[in-house]
Amino acid sequence: MEFVSPEGLRLDGRRPTEMRQLRAEIGNVAKADGSAVFEMGNTKVIAAVYGPREVQNKSQQMSDQALVRCEYSMANFSTGDRMRKPKGDRRSTEISLVIRQTMEACILTHLMPRSQIDIFVQVLQADGGTRSACINAATLALQDAGIPMRDIVTSCSAGYLNSTPLLDLNYVEDSAGGPDVTVDKVIYVDFALNGRVKASVLWDLWLYFGSYGLKET
């Protein structure tokens, strides 16, 4: 299937290095300490941060730093077909872990010992790049909550189809089976590799497009 036309346009009319439209809003959830809604094209994600607050499970309390918890879940109606199990399946657990490790590396946890910071992310509409949208939304929510961080974390995905590197994949491009990469600036890098691709191509892909996309975000 052709994902990039001979003129160099993708299925939704974008150029290979063009990102989807980005929109962000903060302070949507009145009850939360910090919250944000982040949209990347049709992917819409809401994040809420509660903390620093008292640790709920005393056995997990750390005396020298804050405990960071994260939960990622998708709404039943977020994908094309209704999802039966929005939480607790492997993909959600994996993404929760990825987000937690990314944010934990950036938050200055040693400033808030014996406390807990909860980051909850809910996907309302999924059209590819949910992982990136979640990290961006979580960063904004943490900033809204006033939690001290080393730096802002931004995230973007990139892939390789029809011999062209592509930035910010939507659902159709993501499920096409080519390799794709999610790059989070600052600390953590995540690779999802399907299919055979030369290592050198992948490295170039990561360096060039990842950083390009992040500058825009």
């Binding site: 959830v29 009145a30 009850k31 939960e71 879940s73 039943n76 109606f77 209704r82 909850f120 809910q122």
Partner: protein, 302 residues
């Protein structure tokens, strides 16, 4: 030094916020004595309500309802199923209410909120007994295929009056619902995107004419708190946690009583209190009906 005296002495010295946290009941009662509430509302006024239709682009029908800060997102997805043997001409509606941890600091991940299954049950009982949805309209091919309607309501911010906001968003989502077109292909029902209607039309039961559901009596509700002699309409979560006696009245658009719900509580509801609640609900139904009409006509212009 009894407790009431203690707070009296301290009230002149303390900051307002501290007094609010330490003696919440006295803080509220001081306001109620002046017939006003801390957010400057009168006792019988509900918070600012808005409805926005079509909030979720990928769903067949959706709506976002906000009452004050309480936010509910409802979305409907439809699937084709085989109807049961007892009711071969009827479809089915399944309502699910979720309270994800983002909505409130009291909800923990892994442990569903206490209020969630209660509101879910109340919602499905109210919608089925109000007769808003005629299940026979959901039938496609008698005995063989019918629509299964999945309504998912997510609470994005829990600030009191959860049932009211959830019911409002459910009703708005049903008003916004567009039934997808299907055709019969070798005895199997196949979902069609808009363009292909002409090619595949061996048999298009109900579909071309009937893309929207006809809604019967639409239910609207109002939750009130009873405290001593006061009746407070549309409580915030702070008010609900301090004064625990709630009464929820559901009326339909022709002012018929659909349901009355009072789950215990310290204050007993005598006839006069119940009648006052119903009167408040009647006023509220008019407001909500108007807001819903405006939201629907706003969508149609687009």
């Amino acid at each position: 030094m009894g407790l009431p005296n203690a707070s009296e002495d301290l009230s002149s010295e303390m900051e307002v916020d501290a007094f609010r946290r330490l003696f919440p009941l006295r803080y509220f009662e001081r306001h109620l004595a002046e017939s006003i509430r801390p957010d400057a509302r009168s006792l019988s006024r509900a918070r600012n309500t808005t409805i926005s239709m079509g909030a979720v682009a990928s769903a067949d029908g959706s709506a976002l309802a906000k009452i004050g800060s309480t936010t509910m997102l409802a979305a409907i997805k439809m699937e084709v199923m085989t109807p049961s043997l007892e009711s071969p001409d009827e479809g089915c509606v399944s309502i699910d209410f979720h309270m994800p941890p983002i909505c409130s600091p009291l909800v923990r991940p892994g442990r569903p909120a206490e209020a969630a299954p209660v509101v879910a049950k109340q919602l499905s009982d109210t919608i089925s007994s109000s007769g808003m949805i005629n299940l026979k309209e959901l039938s496609l091919v008698g005995g063989k295929a019918a629509w299964m309607v999945y309504l998912d309501i997510y609470c994005l911010d829990a600030d009191g009056a959860l049932f009211d906001a959830a019911l409002l968003s459910a009703v708005a989502a049903f008003s916004n619902l567009q039934i997808p077109t299907v055709s019969l292909d070798d005895g199997k029902i196949v979902m069609l995107p808009e363009e292909q209607k002409e090619e595949n039309s061996e048999k298009e039961p109900v579909n071309k004419e009937k893309r929207k559901l006809t809604l019967g009596g639409i239910p609207f509700s109002l939750t009130c708190i009873l405290h001593k002699n006061y009746i407070l309409a549309d409580p915030t979560s702070e008010e609900e946690s301090i004064m625990e006696t709630l009464v929820t009245v559901v009326l339909d658009s022709s002012n018929q009583l659909v349901s009355l719900y009072k789950p215990g509580g310290a204050v007993l509801a005598y006839t006069s209190a119940v009648q006052d609640c119903i009167a408040l609900t009647r006023q509220r139904v008019k407001e909500l009906h108007q807001i819903l009409e405006e939201a629907i006509s706003g969508m149609e212009i687009d």
